[in-house]
Symmetry: C2
Subunit: 568 residues, 2 copies
Amino acid sequence: LKIRISFLVLQVISIKDNDSLAARLAVEMKADLLILLSDVEGLYNSPPGTNDAKLIDIFYSGDQQSITYGTKSRVGIGGMEAKVKAALWALQGGTSVVIANGTNPKITGQVITDIVEGKKVGTFFSEVKPAGPSVEEQTEMARNSGRILASLHPDQRSEIICHLAELLTERKNEILAANKMDMKMAVSAGRLPSAMLKRLSLSSVKLSSLAVGLHQIAKAAQDSVGRVVRRTRVAPSLELEQVTVPIGVLLVIFEARPDCLKQSKLYPNILKGGKEAANTNRVLHQLTQEALSLHGVREAVQMVNTHEEVEDLCRLDKVIDLIVPRGSSQLVRDIQRAAKGIPVLGHSEGICHVYVDADADVDKVIKIVRDSKCDYPAACNSMETLLIHREILRTPMFDKIIEMLRIEQVKIHSGPRFASYLTFSPSEASSLRTEYSDLECCLEVVDGVEEAVEHIHKYGSSHTDVIVTENKETAERFLQQLDSACVFWNASSRFADGYRFGLGAEVGISTARIHARGPVGLEGLLTTKWVLRGDGHTVADFSESGSRKYLHENIPVEQNLTGHRDSN
Amino acid sequence: LKIRISFLVLQVISIKDNDSLAARLAVEMKADLLILLSDVEGLYNSPPGTNDAKLIDIFYSGDQQSITYGTKSRVGIGGMEAKVKAALWALQGGTSVVIANGTNPKITGQVITDIVEGKKVGTFFSEVKPAGPSVEEQTEMARNSGRILASLHPDQRSEIICHLAELLTERKNEILAANKMDMKMAVSAGRLPSAMLKRLSLSSVKLSSLAVGLHQIAKAAQDSVGRVVRRTRVAPSLELEQVTVPIGVLLVIFEARPDCLKQSKLYPNILKGGKEAANTNRVLHQLTQEALSLHGVREAVQMVNTHEEVEDLCRLDKVIDLIVPRGSSQLVRDIQRAAKGIPVLGHSEGICHVYVDADADVDKVIKIVRDSKCDYPAACNSMETLLIHREILRTPMFDKIIEMLRIEQVKIHSGPRFASYLTFSPSEASSLRTEYSDLECCLEVVDGVEEAVEHIHKYGSSHTDVIVTENKETAERFLQQLDSACVFWNASSRFADGYRFGLGAEVGISTARIHARGPVGLEGLLTTKWVLRGDGHTVADFSESGSRKYLHENIPVEQNLTGHRDSN
């Protein structure tokens, strides 16, 4: 809907007359868009209120057969047929039309601005039918194929993934050629920072390691879907199982990262890739659908090619179960804000702390602080604030820390308390809640472990926090009391990572508190269902006057001790 | 904010003059409310953008000391001091004031209507300071005390719950007296339906069973929090544990059901009870705080006493982690709609199906259909649609089903296909997606298990669905392919319940797909954190050029086989 708009709004009074009048007037004025405000949301495929009546987002002039108009409908709604006639007439005359609801006085103004901004409101009438299905149709296909995918045998799922791995090797040249096109366009456009370019570029080596990763996933997938996590004998011949199943339809949104495609092979998916990687993604998606065809679930992974805004996608809360954004923390933040009613797996901030206790070992301190800050400063699990026990100030250990940070060229921002101890302090941190994502950190002084915990609760992001100490009691207090997704003792914050945790593929790191927390492996894309097998059992039999009693015997389930092992 | 309002809005041009002008004019006109639209959200406790700057919801005239004004702030924001002065001046003159953001042209109209409707927008200036803390302060207290509660020893947590159980017995008379007051008021007001009255009323027997339930919870709690669910040896001397912890701050909202209070003892909580049970809830909450005092976490459970709207509570997404609504499906629906960004544990619809296959055993069919529909028709897990294999039509089994439904006085609505087979059919169902919640059901015909699954995917609510058949293969296909939280074979849909599943206390039934699905026990209120214990480990050691290799050995964890056993 990127057209210049001179629009015209007519209030509906006597429905039939006004519709045709508005259409005639709009065409006469050569208006680009005519907005008809009605008392229903727009055009439905069958009379609103009946079974399965669905709002039509975009109506193409050829679609008229697919609609049933209400015959005995309420006053006013029967007029939809007249409205459609008027709309189609205007369309022929070169004016696009939107029918939307104008009866909510509070948001009527917003409805109009939303329509003008091209948001999906009401029904849009258009001459041009785009090639390919709409996003809604794609989501529907993903769910339907996804249900078949979920009910495949684990071996069949693995075959699909392994087949994809083979395709990556066999069709290497095709992929690399497409990637070269993307790279060329990105370089000549000159808009991408070099870090993004690096992520965008694929090589033979990268593709091989992608293939290896897929084989690992195939193995993990075999164990993860359909796994019995709990088994209960409710009563004789009445057995309950809790079984893992895929969550449903995922929306995976990524920026300039073609290698992210690999995570999505297992589950029904809508993918929205960055446009910088359009060619590469197209080829990869094609190969994915080829692999899925092996067991007739070609449609389970859909790629969004349209210029849909993320905001529009996030609105599909009835059909999408989980959004997985992969990319910058800005992307994650935008999506968390836009996603109304759909859970988002991700963290938008990683403000990680390392607390150096009075009883810390100096060598461990130096190693851990250096690794936490300098190993990869842009990562979400790197240290942003260094907390130091007051007693360490002006000791050789303190000097060594500062010396190391100086050598590593880490810029220090001082916390207010640290500054108060010094005559000449580094510049004060503008906020104790800053994610520097660079060779910078904040340094603050605390009185002990209790105050460290308090500071982290107040300024942290509940991502990953570390204590360095030789005192086991102090350490356990920190690990116990601190309310973060990851709490470490004498280890670098950089270990907070799905691969390093041994979870196999990492889907993301979540700072949400429900469902999945911290580094999330494939299991984060699973939920469970309850399967009860009986022999004609009724709850009445178990009532006070009934003949049966509940057993509720937990039956041990097999523990999978190899599933998440890495050969690496 | 239930006052008659004659309001006045002035656009801000030259800030200082306009503010005092508006205030004078408003007082002169004896306006009840003056709305000052600015370019910031309202009044902050310190200059916006600095550490910890927080929007003040309600500003009392005595609070002036608690605010730091920006000195070097951006143009326009420095003017807040003038605005506050004008507001306080108007307040003294008898006009209440709201300062809110009016710079978003799209929602400015909505901002004004929202303010007039009493929603929390911007900063409200008021003379009257209410007794007791604000909801935000309560939530803060709940989180802080909750963190201590979470770090208590499991035995201490159990002691708290057992102490509460004792208090329920010791202080029985006090509780029953308060409940009698509530009942008396409810009866004399005559507004509550009898089912609600029944739920509202407490008796000695109910209290005893509450106490028994608490002892059960105490036992379950001992096993549930702090349980290690996964243990991995990442490398020598580097061990990872995934441990269960409480989710965080829960908002429990319930209607006229004082017995719901019991679920909330374990975790930091904000409670909002129905006002019908105000006296009972007050006493119960008092006893809860007494029990919590045993280990210094009195504040972990907070009760909301103000007239806050549910919508306002649902807005507190930074401090509340999960909302648990307990009551009618209307309540759950309202809250799901209102909760922006906070997950809600609950289901708003239970459209459960029983599919009678061609190979079904007639006795089991009669038992299961009767129990699923008639045991408690108002429950969310009772049958709403009966699907019948086409081959059964006009067989003795079919006649027996219809005869049973007639005896049980179940009103039948026919689906379109069922109706097409009959000369005289029952009235057609207005929608195949109806939750009757009464002695009514829809009856539809399908061609087999595949079509049954398709029908349920299309019209069901993914709650609980049942197949009755003697054919194991057909049954397994149904259990495998159907995408519902609970799938049963030859058992009544009414088994979908936390107690019947043996989960101990039931927190609710969830039709959400993430975090918790189906009947949810105490475990649904838990999340996990990752604890890593090392000896100075850095990820650099494990890099390609490093000296160490990941082991990722899974270490078996103890399986708890008695934790969820019921003596019942």
